[in-house]
Subunit: 402 residues, 2 copies
Amino acid sequence: MHYTHNFNPTISDEEVFEQIVLEKSSIGYYTLPLQDISEYQEYAKGVKQSNVVVIGIGGSTLGTYAIYKFLKHSKELSKKLYFLETTDPIDIKSKLEGIDLEDTLFVVISKSGTTIETISIFKYIHSLVTIDATNTVVVTENDSKLNLYAQKNGMKSFTIPKNVGGRFSVFSAVGLLPLALVGIDIAEILRGARGVYESFFAKEEEYKQLLKKARFFVEYKNKFNINVVFSYSSRLEGFNKWYIQLWGESLGKIDINQTHQGLTPIGIIGPIDQHSFLQLIVEGKRDKTVTVIKVENFDNDLKIPPVTLEGLEELDYLHEIEFASLINKQADATITSINNLQDIPCDVITIDGVCESAIAGLMFRYELLTSLCAKFMYIDAYDQPGVESGKIILKEKLGKKV
Amino acid sequence: MHYTHNFNPTISDEEVFEQIVLEKSSIGYYTLPLQDISEYQEYAKGVKQSNVVVIGIGGSTLGTYAIYKFLKHSKELSKKLYFLETTDPIDIKSKLEGIDLEDTLFVVISKSGTTIETISIFKYIHSLVTIDATNTVVVTENDSKLNLYAQKNGMKSFTIPKNVGGRFSVFSAVGLLPLALVGIDIAEILRGARGVYESFFAKEEEYKQLLKKARFFVEYKNKFNINVVFSYSSRLEGFNKWYIQLWGESLGKIDINQTHQGLTPIGIIGPIDQHSFLQLIVEGKRDKTVTVIKVENFDNDLKIPPVTLEGLEELDYLHEIEFASLINKQADATITSINNLQDIPCDVITIDGVCESAIAGLMFRYELLTSLCAKFMYIDAYDQPGVESGKIILKEKLGKKV
């Protein structure tokens, strides 16, 4: 008699941590916070154009957009940043109309180097403006065809390490180069990520919190198959989108027992979605966890002025309240609403402020959380066979036309 | 012996339809497509300002934004439309910086008339520009305090009927007034909605399709508790957000047996999310239905030019393909990917083009679908006690401060 099985019992925190430490030598994203960034900083100094247009899709843009969207109104930035990331013709046309292409640096980002959307849009740009080494730079894998193109045309190229997946690449050239180009402090970005890195690998606070959270999500994955991130700042809209890709694409997998696994990410924005999605959380099926993200310090003193509106005097109690305080009280009201129900798991992450290190720390924390959940679930967080199969079908559909 | 129960067996299509017909006399949204819109059109003609700023949140803005976002790059619009809908101070400040407030009409929209976010922002506007009957109009319920304020100040006001809920109000003054103001053809909007209305109530195609779909969603609600709308055009980003509110807030309810019900809406955009969320759909847990929305005619001939890039010659097969064709082939590739799996329900909605009637028809169809699902689920689609309880907690938290 003998057994054949891949049954996957709960593994201990210690075992998972050992696996992560082991993985650090093969999966590249972990140590990105430790890298030398002088190459990006040096290159950025020499760029004269007023606009930066990133051409990319998915993991090539979402992380950069998340950081840029978070910071762009709180920093004095030296250039404007745009993203061309979809094949919707109306979107391409309308975005390009607002940009002086003669005063633009194009950053073409594709890990594989042959992403259909990215190269199609890049070709289209050729029909609008002369493309050469003075206005174009590429970010790709070392041995990709896009890198070959760059070499043939004498263009500067930056490398995405092979072992850094697209959705884990924000702290590589993919994110750091465009962010440095527009004047965001990428040293501070890495400092924020490094703080989380060090705390986690030293088994301090981040280790404790993240392991607890990952374990909970996985142990209750069949009851709570949906994870809602409820961000209380419109600045976090890009973060939400990035989180959705990271979580969905990393954890939606077939496990070692050949069964379908997956935790479904939802990203919503307070207080806007407090007027809608909150109803579903409060009265709907108990299939969700909720993580509320708050910004402690908006560094903004906008207030509700003491203006009495005849007929609306009952709202005068709002006078002199800062909007920053109002939005955080709205977050607190949501947290209280949910906790009062006693059957919806809710955790709160409060980030310090609207600064580079805060958003970077939050993002690195979510990357670690994703890796941990994958270990507890016995799945590979870093591949995406379901996306790849769709790409093959698309090529067939397009190939037939040619 | 006697029974006491509220068990809710599957009811027939005919019974549900009868309930909807009955409901038409008490729930106002059904007959909005039949209304007289000359009042909005007349008022819009007289407005001289170049900018329209809508101050509102949730149901007061999402539908309008959905239609505006869909059409704005395909129409010659006479004015610019902005939305102030969040208490995030950085968002308020940065949005207002780009607008000439002296050349702006403010449209203050609040069904209840005392929405904290809306009135707070409106008060803040008072500190920036003189507010009077020449530059402000309100949209609210007839007997609200906001309407009283408008009367006291001699301002024009438009009425939201009491029996039209916020999230079902896009075809009332809430949506039609701002859209008419910027030059969108609201007669065409209503014509599109009316087409669906007539087909449904005459028990023709829309009746057949919508009942089938609603019944399926409800019968499989415990297996497929997540409904993904996968829209293949960035133009539909606003529609997705509107759908999420409509679906989540209407169907997340306690049913007649006092049990938690709810179908969770997710809105994603192709091809962008084809590079991320598709992985979760294809390999993840079988807890989702997928509705793919395609735009048949983008009315745009942007093409991939025949530019050969040295090193990237393998992508030359893309030459001369229109982007409109590419994005629709990407949608088809996704549909094929999903159908190949044979265990994920997937339906496709193809709308005619980027025009008023197409988006309005789509939205009215989703309103009817929502009402039908609610009937099959024995819940009230039109209330939102979970949101209201959060508002009370917020007032307590704010009240304590005063």
